[in-house]
Amino acid sequence: MAKQKIQIIVCGGTSCNGNQSELLIDNLRLELEANALENDVRVIKSGCFGLCNLGPIVKIIPGDTIYTHVKPDDARDIVSEHVMKGRKVERLLFTDPVTKKVLATERELSSHKKQIRIVLRNCGIIDPENIDEAIAYNAYEALGKVLTEMKPPEVIKIVKDSGLRGRGGGGFPTGLKWEIAYKNKSDEKYVVCNADEGDPGAFMDRSVLEGDPHAVLEAMAICGYSIESHKGLIYIRAEYPLAVSRLKTAIQQAREYGLLGKNIMGTGFDFDIEIRYGAGAFVCGEETALIHSMEGLRGEPTVKPPFPAESGFRGKPTNVNNVETFACLSPIILKGAEWFASIGSIKSKGTKVFALAGKINNVGLIEVPMGTTLREVIFEIGGGIRYGKKFKAAQTGGPSGGCLTEKHLETPIDFDNLIAAGSMMGSGGLIVMDEDDCMVSVAKFFLDFTVEESCGKCAPCRIGNKRLHELLEHITKGKGTLADLDRLKNMSLVIKDTSLCGLGQSSPNPVLSTLENFREEYEAHVTIKKCPAGKCKDLMEYFIISANCVGCTACARVCPVGAITGERKEPHVINPNICIKCGSCMEKCKFDAIIIQ
């Protein structure tokens, strides 16, 4: 691959990009040119390293040195010290958030030890805009093997034997899906990659597409060969411009190398891929809605059956898989079904990528074997809760999932266990909440999302979710009653039972699971009209502890409505009738004299 002696890999994932990694790359190149090193050192913009809260990340090969929080101005030191003199830039080396030790390479990172990288195998390693690097890391080898040595039913058998289940959230066995599409004979069939990652707080698919687009293209071609289709479509959110541009580059390069298009690798098999854009509709993650959207229509779901494998895009058999599912494929073909099936739990094989976010120390992308416990994910890999606060809940499955609490910490995470715990796998967003989060508000937040995203086609989802949201609004304003809690539960169950598609069938899950796990919190809202977490504005009262107040007047000056009165050097008081509960006084107070009651 690259002839240069040293490679500087800079993370070009979205978080790092937002932290000026682009400018850093420019500066590195300028510094190298200024020192006439541009032919010896190559700067590569890679996909996500998965260490988002430490970004921008720079990795230098050889040696695998990792630098964190690198600013554009640090380019000079990296070139003059590390590249030219071989001395590590100490101040940029990173400390393990768990052990607090300074680490030289990523392999020493404690959060890496429990991880196995299959889907993310090349993310942060290769240059996603250079097909040669992907090929050096075995891209398209599996496609070659499939096209030259295997018949479609053999490929399907390997996928079935591997136990791979759909990573989009449903967990449907991938091999079985392919088999149905294969058996439905038609002159035209389609392979669709669902890259409409609409779950808020989830960024796995985007990272795969940005970091290793060829993994998805190759797998789509393998799928095409297996179900006898010649046309692939990637349905991707228009909100992911970087992923779109890298996919376009990758498709172009694959065509030039004869890995897509007519007569792939001289085997006579034709397969080409086109990109279709979503336009911001969560429901389009549902496969029938997605297909309608690709046909230029409103993305409304339809009743299954007929399943897309029978009648999908343009009425032809269509196989829809998620980005992460596709990204698992070529390792399965190359290393065999048994290898894949040896990883994970009994019914869920392989690994799962999670986007860890929220009140957790190590925000980022992780990939763990199925069956890893929630405790391992949050406390060992995630480094625990920020600011040493207490863990309260973790939401998996986004707006369709539920919350897992302390009692679920030892639960091995896989498809079936999560459903048993009242949540679901979902696409892999894992949002951690601490003691300061009000679970009623969180449920309301998700309902807010569902109400906005409901397509409106069926009444239970369109009207029912709105009513649920109103009830929650009521409760957070202190106007709820105990009877409302039963009403919430009953309505949730009806919506689940009667909605047309996955969106409505799962939208009450956050309500049901918070009700189940945090009933006392709901009760506090409706009986004593208090929010135990201190989040619900209408149920709070700001109060000054006179013993702590020194009368510095800072709070009175910052109060936008003049609700705080008191003489200088005398304890102040807040008039609750004027107070708008903005919290400014509490932020300003240096003496911890202001509390919420």
Partner: protein
């Protein structure tokens, strides 16, 4: 439909026609056509939809249905500096709501509105995928991470002095 009436210039009409032709006037390409048109005009007023309707031979009501279904499409013009606050779950639990409130206060706008001078518009969006920087605000293409309510005024200042 929209209450704002605009007069399309001939060159605008030609541009829409050109976009439609580039997709072979295929009604199945409607969403791609709308993406291109919004890229060009910044928004999709009724008048633009009418031209598309003629070109693709799709009833304008259908097009309106599609435009209003997807949150990415808008029928009101965005400001010169569109401000978007991420309200994804990760940003939400890290206090995005307070940041949004501060923008509302500073700009005097509700979500979906544009300032009278056309300079700023305010919107909330669902997850830009930069959860490591939560809470995230985007102004145009520029991303601001770990935004606190106190930062809002400074962010807006960057755009106020005719930059």
């Amino acid at each position: 439909m929209s209450s704002i009436k605009i007069e399309l210039r001939q060159e605008d009409v030609n541009k829409i026609k050109e976009i439609c032709t580039s997709f072979n006037n295929d009604p199945q390409e409607l969403i791609n056509v709308l993406h291109k048109c919004q890229e060009h005009f910044g928004y999709l007023p009724a008048e633009v939809q009418e031209v598309i309707s003629n070109e693709l031979v799709v009833p304008v009501a259908k097009i309106y249905g599609v435009v209003t279904f997807y949150s990415f499409f808008t029928m009101t013009p965005k400001g010169k500096h569109p401000v978007s606050i991420c309200m994804g779950t990760a940003c939400y639990v890290r206090g995005a709501e307070k940041v949004l409130d501060e923008f509302k206060k500073e700009l005097g706008l509700q979500v979906g509105q544009t300032t009278n001078d056309g300079k700023f518009s305010l919107s909330s969006l669902r997850c830009v995928g930069a959860c490591g920087l939560a809470p995230v605000v985007m102004v145009g293409d520029k991303t601001y991470g770990r935004v606190a309510p106190d930062d809002v005024r400074n962010i807006l200042k960057e755009y106020e002095e005719g930059k």
